[in-house]
Each structure stands twice: as structure tokens, then as C-alpha cells.
Symmetry: C2
Subunit: 192 residues, 2 copies
DNA sequence: TTTTTAGTTGAACAAACGTTCAAGAATGAA
DNA sequence: TTCATTCTTGAACGTTTGTTCAACTAAAAA
């Protein structure tokens, strides 16, 4: 068996995720991670491998813990269009200090994905899940009669995914909430 | 007087801008800059100051050379709504290898602005210019009767700015063009 | 021609970087 | 108790990082 871990491997991964989310990949050093995770360098390498592997693990953990919970709103019972509204309201109502973090996935698409095929692939899978969640939600809206039968749900789902990115980036540059609410109203007005 | 420069200070700044645009701030080292700019370390420091100052100069140069040219489409005579259509078509029709670079301003908003007040302020001014260009264009659309008089052009301008960010981020993750065209059609459909 | 000014060059710097590793410590199995 | 296994620890590694600087070189001014 050998000596057992003295730390919770999920808890420390969650802390690493938080730090990467806040600072990005390049700006986060192993020293920073040691401080935040509360375990020594050796334990990080022994448990998660090198920095790159740890980052990918963090992104995947983010997808499981953060993204999939956000997506659940779209899958919940009740009015699909109301769910989409809630989804965007959640983004807009993120507290200012959290808003500057944006979303680890968007951040990674911008910072790392263009130069790192492994990361790009990891992120692509997650983005596809989000877009599929929008699509399913829109298709259900058609089914329950909230959208007309000739709606191009495929196109609309891409539109909503694009606006999700857009709002998250906008939110990073300390924009006032009224502006973001206005934008959300226009997004929602396209769903008729 | 002293010894004259042996290089064109604007040309080398343009090369630095290209590299920061491609790789981001943190991932670009002084060595990388020496290679790309074709001048020695000392000349870089002597001419532009440290890495941070050079980066801000590069962002400002980008605003002058790239952003303001893109914005000019919105200000050109003729149909304002047609100009907006051209603006978004330019984004969608960016060749794939260039598309992964995205936009230096968006990239900077995501990577650096949240942790660097100086950079954040530089970028904020540029974002405001873009948004104002949209606003002016929309107001002109109202004037010439392409939009009804009760249009909330302020809100719409924020919507268009958000979608610009969204499309640029989407374009970074090697998405197919058909999807982006679909999104642009929906964006344009909100202008009635 | 001499002096002053100012850009060029390459070596050098300390600090920060990601990574490795041998020694120590805690567990279950023999 | 001894052994094998495996996590913990802290020191150490070689690179890469951003930055500085003294020596050199080219032009204009005296």
C-alpha cells in the first residue's frame, strides 16, 4: 500500500483550478501553486505530473464542477426560454470581483489553445458540450411551442454560445451592469 | 545630435506588435522580441523602455493601425447597416491562420487587463472608441431611416460590441465558417 | 581635428522559472 | 519486527527570465 496521502487530491486540484482561473497559465508559477494548494512541490509533481498536466486536470475539473453546473440550468424542467434567460442572468449577476476572472474555458481558448493542440482539444470538447446544451434547450423550446417549428435552432445555439463568450469577455473589463443587462435583453429578444 | 537610429522605430514596433498579438504578453520573451524585431536587446530597452512599456506601445500602435482601420468601415458613407454587415463579414472572412490570433485588444482584456491597471486603462479607451463607432453608425441608421426612431441605439451598440468579442473568441478555437456566418446573420437580424 | 552626443553591441547579472531527486516518514504485508 | 511500498520534504539542478552596463561606433557641433 505505502504511505497514504495527507491531503485531499480533489481539494488541492480545486485550489489549483482557482489559481489558474485567476491568473492564467503562464502567469501562474509552481511557487504560486505551492502556496495556494498548501502542498510541497514534490507532492504536486508526484500527484499531478508537470505543470502542463496539472493545468489540463484543472481545466477538466472546471468543466465538471463549474461548467456542467451552469449548463444544468438549461436542462432543468420548466420553460426552456426561461432557462436560457436564467443562464444569462447568472453571467450578468456574477459579483464584480469574480467577473474579472471570466471563465477558465474562455480564458484558455484565448491564451493557450492557439499554441497548444492538447489544450485545444480538451477545450473543444467542453465548448461542444455547452453548444449542445443550448441546442437541446432550443429544440425543447420548439417542442413545447415556445419557438416556431421553422426555427434554425442550430444557428441560434451558435449565436447563444458566441454571446456567452462575448459577455464573459465584456465582463472582464469592468463594464457596468446596466450595459450587460441591455445586451442580454437583446439576446433574448431574438428568441421568438 | 549623436548617432542616428539604424532601424525604423515604427517598423520594429510593428513587428513587436505582431509577436505580442500571436503569443500574448507573458509567453513572449525578450529573446523572442530580439529575434523578431531584428534589433539587439540594448536597442529595445534604449528605444522603448522595458517589456511592459513596449507592450503598451504595441497595443497603442495596434489601436492606431489595426482597430481604427476596422472601425473606418463603420464610418464610411453609404448605408450604415450595410457597413455593419461589412464589419462582421470582415471578422468572419479572416483567414484561418490569422483567426487564431484573434484581436490583440480582446486577448489583452482576457490575459492582462484584470491584473494590470495601466494596461486595463489603455484597453478601456480603445474599447470605448469601438463602442462609440457602433453607436454613431446606429444613430446614423436612425437618421437615414434604416432603423426606427425609437431604437435603443445605446443598448444595440453594446450588443454589437459584445458580439464582436464573442465572434473573435469563437474564431480562435478553429470553428467552421458556416457557424460564424449563421451567427452574423442573427446579429444582423436584430437590426430592424 | 577634437569634443559632445547618442545609438549599437555583447557580455553579465540576479532572480525566477520548471523540474528532479535523495533522504525521511508513514502505512500494510510478511 | 522487518520489509516493501509510497507519500513528504527540502535542497538542488540547469534554464530562461527581464534588465543593466561598460565599451564601442557614428554622427553633429565646436
Amino acid at each position: 500500500m505505502g504511505r497514504p496521502y495527507e491531503f485531499d487530491r480533489e481539494e488541492t486540484l480545486s485550489k489549483a483550478m482557482d489559481l489558474f482561473w485567476e491568473k492564467g497559465y503562464k502567469a501562474t508559477s509552481i511557487d504560486d501553486l505551492v502556496d495556494r494548494m498548501g502542498i510541497k512541490r514534490g507532492s504536486i509533481y508526484n500527484t499531478y505530473g508537470d505543470k502542463h498536466s496539472l493545468f489540463i486536470a484543472a481545466v477538466e475539473y472546471y468543466a465538471e464542477e463549474v461548467t456542467s453546473k451552469t449548463i444544468k440550468v438549461l436542462e432543468s424542467p420548466g420553460s426552456p426560454l426561461e432557462n436560457i434567460k436564467l443562464f444569462f442572468e447568472t453571467i450578468v449577476n456574477t459579483p464584480p470581483n469574480r467577473k474579472t476572472r471570466g471563465c477558465l474555458i474562455s480564458n484558455t481558448v484565448v491564451e493557450l489553445a492557439p499554441h497548444d493542440e492538447k489544450v485545444a482539444e480538451t477545450v473543444r470538447i467542453i465548448l461542444e458540450k455547452i453548444q449542445t446544451a443550448f441546442l437541446n434547450c432550443l429544440n425543447r423550446a420548439v417542442e413545447v411551442g415556445e419557438l416556431s417549428k421553422d426555427t434554425d435552432t442550430q444557428a441560434l445555439s451558435h449565436f447563444l454560445a458566441t454571446n456567452t463568450h462575448g459577455l464573459i469577455v465584456t465582463g472582464k473589463s469592468a463594464v457596468n451592469n446596466k450595459q450587460m443587462k441591455d445586451v442580454v435583453n437583446i439576446i433574448l429578444s431574438t428568441l421568438n
